[in-house]
Every structure is written in C-alpha cells, then in structure tokens.
Amino acid sequence: MDTLTPATSSTSGIDQESYERNRRRRMERIIRALLMGCAIISVVTTVGIVVLLLFESLKFFLYDGVSITEFLTGTVWAPQNDQFGILPLFCGTMLVTVGAAIVAMPLGLGTAIYLSEYASPIVRETVKPALEILAGIPSVVFGYLAIVVIAPYIHDLFPDADPANAAAAAIVVGFMILPTVISLSEDVLRAVPRSLREGAFALGATKYDVTVKVVVPAALSGIMASFLLAISRAIGETMAVTLAAGGTPRITLNPLRSIQTMTAYIVEKAQGENPYGTVEYRTIFAVGLTLFVSTMLLNLVAQWILGRMREKYE
C-alpha cells in the first residue's frame, strides 16, 4: 500500500506526484480521442456513402451525357442500348413493395393487437421469440423459398403467370418485413396508458370498442411509423427479389409478370464483369443513389414520428 502513504514534504515528492497526474491526464486525453475516433467512423461511413454515390452518379450524368430528366422519366431501361430510364426498375420495386405491404400490414397489425391486448403473458413470451426467428432468417433463404415453394403454388393457381414473378417476390418480402411491423406496433400499442383503456371500459365499451376505437387510434402514429420502416426495408430488400422476381425491367401493374427491382439490377450488373469506369459500372451507383435517398427519407420520417410518440407519453 505504499502508493497510499502521504507524500513527504520534500520537493521531489511533489514533482513526482504532479508528473504522475500530468501523465494520467495525457493518457485520459489520448483515450478520449481514440474513442471519439471510433464514433466518428459512423459519420465517415455516411459521408463516404453519400460522396461515393453522388460522385459516380455525377460522372454518369456529366461524362456519359445521360440527362437527369431522361433518367427519371425514361420508360425503357436497357443500359446496353444506352437507354437509361429508371421508371421500369422503380415500378418493379413499387410493385413488390406494395404487394409486400398488403401481405404484412393486416397480418402484422392483427398479430400485434392480439399479442398486446388479448394474449396471456405465457402466450406472448412464447410467440414473440418464435416470431423473432423470422427476423433472423437471411434474405437469401426467402429467395429460395419464393422460387421453390411459393412460385409453384402461384403457377398452379394462375397457369399463365411467368415462372418467376412479382407476386412470389411480394409474398416473401411481406413475410420478411412482418417482424418489423409486429415488434414495433406491439411496442407502441403497449405504450398506450392503461388509464385510457380503463376509462373506455368504465363507459361500458366492449373489448372491441376499446381496442379499435381507443387503443389503436392512440397508437396510430407509431403504427404508421412501423409501416414506413417496413416499407423502407421492402424497398431495400435484395436477395429475395433478385431470385424471385425474374429480372425483366418493365412497367406493369400485373403481379404475375416477371419484373426487375432496383436492387436486383445492382446484383445482376455486379455479378457480371463490371470493369471500373464504364457506363454500366456507373449505372449501379446512380440506381444505388436513388435507392439510398428513398429509404433514407422513409427512415427519417418514421424516426421523427417515433420520437414524437415517445415524448407524448413520458
């Protein structure tokens, strides 16, 4: 315990102590800077994504002479023939996303309502981990399921459907985004204060009235946020749609046709030879930028809504 003995009054002892303190202070500053560096990496990542996507897209628009209006309004996507209209890819993405939302929203909201309002604690504690398994299944597995399990059923029902089609992709993507809808919606439903429910029961409302006319409206903005996050997931979903949707860029509303999404196009181009610096190399960055901007906007809106919800009940 000699470090704890009081310092002698000799000057060398004081020097020793102040030297020690200085050294420690310097160490503290270095560690602080190191940790800060780690945190800054996240900012650098974002800046890196934005700069890279913008830089390559700018080259695409400036060097390759593709006009932004052609990119945003052109109706043919055929980079090998110099036709760069992103609408077919955008349309494919929307078809899959809307289909996935139609599958996931009612199922997800219903499950969330059941878990938060009706289920006993035992049921809730067994079903929630079971549904979390769904969230842990990799996207490429859903792609396999779409091709091997779901597409044959669709083909049996509608014999004139393309072998790989938007409907199969939409169904599996719907299942992939279910966990997002369920867990977030359940959280916001449970955050609705008990007193609101009790007040409604006191007025003689049935469980249905309380749930549908009081609890769900009170949690509505949070539910919307969970939908937005799920939709953003569906837009960015890649491996499942690449395998399941076929890969033909076209503008159609028919879910039984083969389509291509923005993400699937990136995969298709990246799989072939994409030598650095060609137009085709740059198209994937222009498509990536479109993808990044659309998901980023949805995420920001959803987070803004969730943040406001949290304030309201605290």
């Binding site: 945190a39 996240s42 994504i49 890279l52 009706y118 079971a130 549904l131 398994i133 994937i284 995420n299």
Partner: protein
C-alpha cells in the same frame, strides 16, 4: 324512466351483436397470429424436407462441382469463417469504443445528437448500398481488390450501427451509483469506464455482438454487390484471397434450373440456419446466465 318492451328487445339484440363483433375481432387477431406462426413452420418444414437427406460429411467437405452428387460447401464454409472472424475482430473494438464515447464521454450536445441520429439511420440503410460503398472504397479506391479483407471491412460497416446501438443499451443499464462510487475513490474517467462500467456491461454487449455477427453471417447482398466470386474451387488461405460465402452457395444453387441443385440449396440453408440458431442460443445463454449474476 321506463322502456317499452320493443326498446328493451332492441337493446338486448344490440348487446348480443356487440358481443358477437367483439369476439369475432378477437378471433380475427388470433387468426393473424396463427397464420404467421403456421406459415413460418411450413416454410422451415419445407426446407427440411428438401434438404435434410443431403446434409452429410461429404456435403460439408465437398468442393464446388457441376455434378450435384459431388458438390459440397467446404469452400463457402471456410470463406464465411474467414469473413466472420475478421468482421468480429474489426467491429468489436470500433463498435464498443464508439458506444463508450457516446455514453461515457460525450456531453449531450447537438453534435452528439447528430451522431446518434446518424447511427440510427445507418442501421436502416439497405445492405446492398454498403456493398456499393465497399466496391468503390475498398475494392477500387483502397486497391484491396475483391479480397477477404475488403469483404470483411464492408461487413463491419454493415453491422457497426447494430453493435453500437446494442452496446449503448448495455452501458445505459449500468447504474450511475457504480460510476459515482468509483469517482469518489479518486479514479479517473477511463479507470472508471475500464474497470467498473465495461465489466458490468459485458454480458449485454456480448449478446448484441453475437446477434450482429449472426446477421453478418447471413448477409449476401453486400458481398454480391462487391462482386464476390461464386465459383471458387479453393478454400482461401490468406486475407488477400478472393472470397465467397455460405449464403452465396444458397443463392447460386437456388438460381439453377435443375431440381437437384434446389435440394443442395436447401441443404446449405439447413447448415446456415443451424449455425445461426446456435449463435442465437449462445446469445440467449449469455444474457440469461451472466445477466443473473449481477443484480442491482
């Protein structure tokens, strides 16, 4: 106030109808839940049925082949192992360091809130966009080529936001009294953080890290976007070798027309899911076992 007989009957039938609607709604919601569970079970079952007979030793140690009888996943397994090892090595210090800075050091300023918002948003960026970042930054700008190193750096960026958010959560759960007691004894901030806060938060951090690793293990999109090799016939031996990954085996075989390859794909899915479920069970065990010991 008196009701006529007709009014009473009306009220009674209204009550009955109300009760009927209420119970129907309950059944509907329960149906939605069962629908999710049954379809989940059905999907997993259909993978098992198709793939189980192919999972054996020769499948695990087989090389890539055009003959479905001989093809195996050895190269994919070893490559995935490399990627996960390096990704873990990179993401733990950076992720935990960033979380420590945000929770223990940074004051609650606008700058901190901006970083926090940024991390939350990065967690929602589609993983294929990270693949483009890896392609532009690591493969071309840093001249790493399509190597294991470039692949694992990209995967690190993909899971970093999740590691940071989970570690922050774990650090936040450590009660302030522990920090104050340490400061009262004259410890510096780093001594407090390193000797008191970090050990107390370790189970929570480990749970988060294991779950992120299992996410990285299943990722295929960023690797494909970087141009991962799908027909590699040798297992990588250094960080500069080209890479592939187990999910890419599933992707490749699922895209083949022949039925035999679909069964191989299912077998590879079973292997991947077994690894993922084991990782999740380890995470649950860590949370349960070590979480119990420390009680505040």
């Amino acid at each position: 106030m008196m009701y006529t007989e007709k009014e009473l009957a009306n009220m009674a039938s209204f009550r009955v109808r109300q009760r009927f609607v209420s119970s129907m709604f309950r059944v509907l919601c329960m149906g939605a839940m069962w629908c999710c569970l049954i379809i989940l079970a059905f999907l997993l079952f259909s993978v098992l049925v198709r793939g189980l007979q192919h999972v054996d030793w020769s499948f695990l140690t087989g090389l890539i082949s055009r003959d479905p009888e001989k093809a195996g996943i050895w190269v994919y397994l070893i490559s995935s192992l490399w990627l996960i090892l390096l990704t873990t090595l990179f993401s733990i210090p950076i992720g935990v360091g960033a979380a420590l800075y945000l929770e223990e050091y940074a004051a609650d300023t606008r700058w901190k809130r901006l970083v926090q918002l940024n991390i939350a948003n990065l967690a929602g960026v589609p993983s294929i966009v990270y693949g483009l970042l890896g392609l532009g930054l690591f493969v071309w700008a840093a001249q790493l080529g399509r190597s294991i190193l470039a692949g694992s750096l990209t995967l690190t960026l993909v899971i970093l936001p999740i590691v940071i958010l989970a570690s922050q959560e774990a650090l936040r759960a450590v009660p302030n009294s522990i920090r104050q007691a340490s400061y009262a004894l004259g410890a510096t901030r780093w001594q407090t953080t390193w000797r008191q806060v970090l050990p107390a938060a370790t189970p929570g951090i480990m749970t988060g890290v294991i779950l992120s690793i299992s996410r990285a293990l299943g990722e295929a999109a960023p690797l494909v976007a970087m141009g991962a090799v799908q027909y590699m016939n040798y297992a990588p031996v250094s960080v500069n070798d080209s890479f592939t990954a187990l999910p890419l085996a599933i992707f490749q075989w699922a895209g083949e027309a022949k039925r035999e390859f679909h069964e191989l794909s299912a077998a590879a899915i079973i292997v991947l899911l077994v690894v993922l479920i084991s990782l999740n069970m380890i995470a649950a065990y860590v949370r349960h076992h070590f979480g119990k010991r420390v009680q505040w």
